[in-house]
Symmetry: C2
Subunit: 296 residues, 2 copies
């Protein structure tokens, strides 16, 4: 990646399997934590941005696609939203969107890499916005997997997993044991959501996440949207619930509270995102061979 | 763009406003027509592909997003589909999808650049597939704008504009005069569709196309989808009709005929694509200031 580290902009690319997506940008900070290489850039097209191990994570003028999409279907759909947990999300964008809901009383943000939080607070303050100083936020630098395993049964209304790809520090955020703990700590009427990769660039990983969440929670559905800087630009978030697919029914009062401040999300956009399952993925998710194999 | 023209793969990128999307590929043919530079590449990720003036147009393993999206909402929604016109579409992919509908009796394909047709037939034969030898296809190398102006009133059931960006040879495919002729040559119950650019990378152009089509046809709605190789990966097609927004109601028999052979499109996916209007674009399209200004 960063073949550019001077004062004049050059191309900074993420490479994946013969495809690259690059921004003309300058590296303004780069440090390694025990977990990963953390890079802050300043780009012509999208303002300042973050890469982890050379993969695009977010940028000031391209972050709302992701953060609005992962938050509002869950926060508008859960039976109550007093206690919310975010695993990952060290840039603060998911916390910011959660805290736009006045019903949230306590938001636990558990990010494994303190360097991500530190560099984002310093260089990308608009992404976390007022979340960093909101008294409802309780920031913990620590292991989200251990946090979830240790949390009490039925202790959160919403659990949001805002991690990177299932490799490196985020690998343990995509397996059955982790998902089962997430289910255990959800209150009745609660909603779980995780980013669930690109149906194009990471097709099998995407399908495996949806299938596993359906097994663990009972109800799980992918919602499709756009994050131009992620591989293929085509992204997904998968929402899950135990009692009913309540992420399909946004509460009108909560939706009205946040709608005017959204660039991307609306109840209508969300309906579209859940409906826009590409034909071949819909067939694969419905395939009886899979269901037999997985249940066997 | 093609800084690579040898036998070993290198990066071939499209650049736009500080962003680039590249494929690792080899150039296998490059010629200039009177209209544009036509490049055929062979990529590791998506097979052989086409660029016009250095902009990604299509590739063997990434073309169905675009071609299924532009064709089936129109061909499943029009009152009848006996006579279909494609303006542009020289790679043959749109024609191939149209001819999967047995109800199509005559398909006029009017492409301005014979070199595009020639190189695509030679190097990308799977994209046009059996369309090139289908007796229902009438291929004309010529000016689509003149063709539409000369066509008889009410002579087509469906008019599809499959052109490149509104610059260079495709510039005249996005103005009021052209759209008014398209409306004139549509039969009652007919449907018009054009690719309508990225709501992210070409936001204002996108909005202007939707607004203008609403004025000219009465009913027009954007449908959003994905073309990973296009700027931002987030793309749109706008469908228009005079009598009713009939592109929202796919005929179940026609839909069933083509569904099993689709990778992306389904009636459900299409519903999602029409619903997934991002909040800020929905507000802008509904803005009364605009409506007053445009009608004045």
């Amino acid at each position: 990646m960063s073949d550019n580290n001077g004062s004049s902009p050059g191309w900074i690319d993420e490479h994946l399997n013969g495809v690259r997506y690059g921004l003309e940008a300058t590296v303004i900070a780069e440090q390694s934590s025990p977990y990963q290489r953390v890079t802050i850039i300043d780009s012509l097209a999208y303002g300042k941005g973050l890469l982890l191990d050379g993969c695009w994570m977010t940028a000031e003028r391209q972050e709302r696609h992701y953060h609005e999409a992962i938050v509002h279907p869950a926060l508008c759909g859960a039976a109550s939203i007093e206690r919310v947990l975010i695993v990952g999300g060290g840039d603060g964008g998911t916390a910011r969107e959660c805290l736009r809901h006045p019903g949230v009383q306590q938001l636990d943000l558990v990010e494994i890499d303190g360097l991500v939080v530190e560099l984002c607070q310093q260089h990308l303050p608009s992404i976390g916005g007022s979340a960093w100083s909101d008294p409802r936020l309780r920031l913990t630098v620590g292991d989200g997997i251990a946090w979830v395993a240790a949390a009490a049964e039925a202790s959160y209304d919403v659990v949001i997993v805002d991690g990177s790809d299932p490799a490196g520090p985020a690998e343990g955020l995509f397996n059955r044991s982790f998902f089962e703990h997430c289910r255990r700590i959800l209150r009745p009427g609660g909603i779980f959501v995780t980013q669930s990769e690109s149906p194009e660039a990471f097709r099998q990983v995407h399908i495996d996440i949806v299938r596993l969440l359906r097994q663990v929670f009972g109800h799980a559905d992918p919602m499709y949207g756009w994050v131009p800087m992620y591989p293929s630009g085509w992204w997904s978030w998968t929402f899950a619930a135990v009692d009913a697919p309540r992420y399909h029914r946004p509460d009108p009062v909560r939706a009205a509270t946040v709608s005017a401040g959204c660039e991307i999300w609306s109840p209508r956009w969300q309906r579209g995102g859940f409906e826009a399952v590409p034909a071949s993925i819909e067939r694969q998710l419905a395939s009886p061979e899979f269901n037999i194999a997985e249940q066997g």
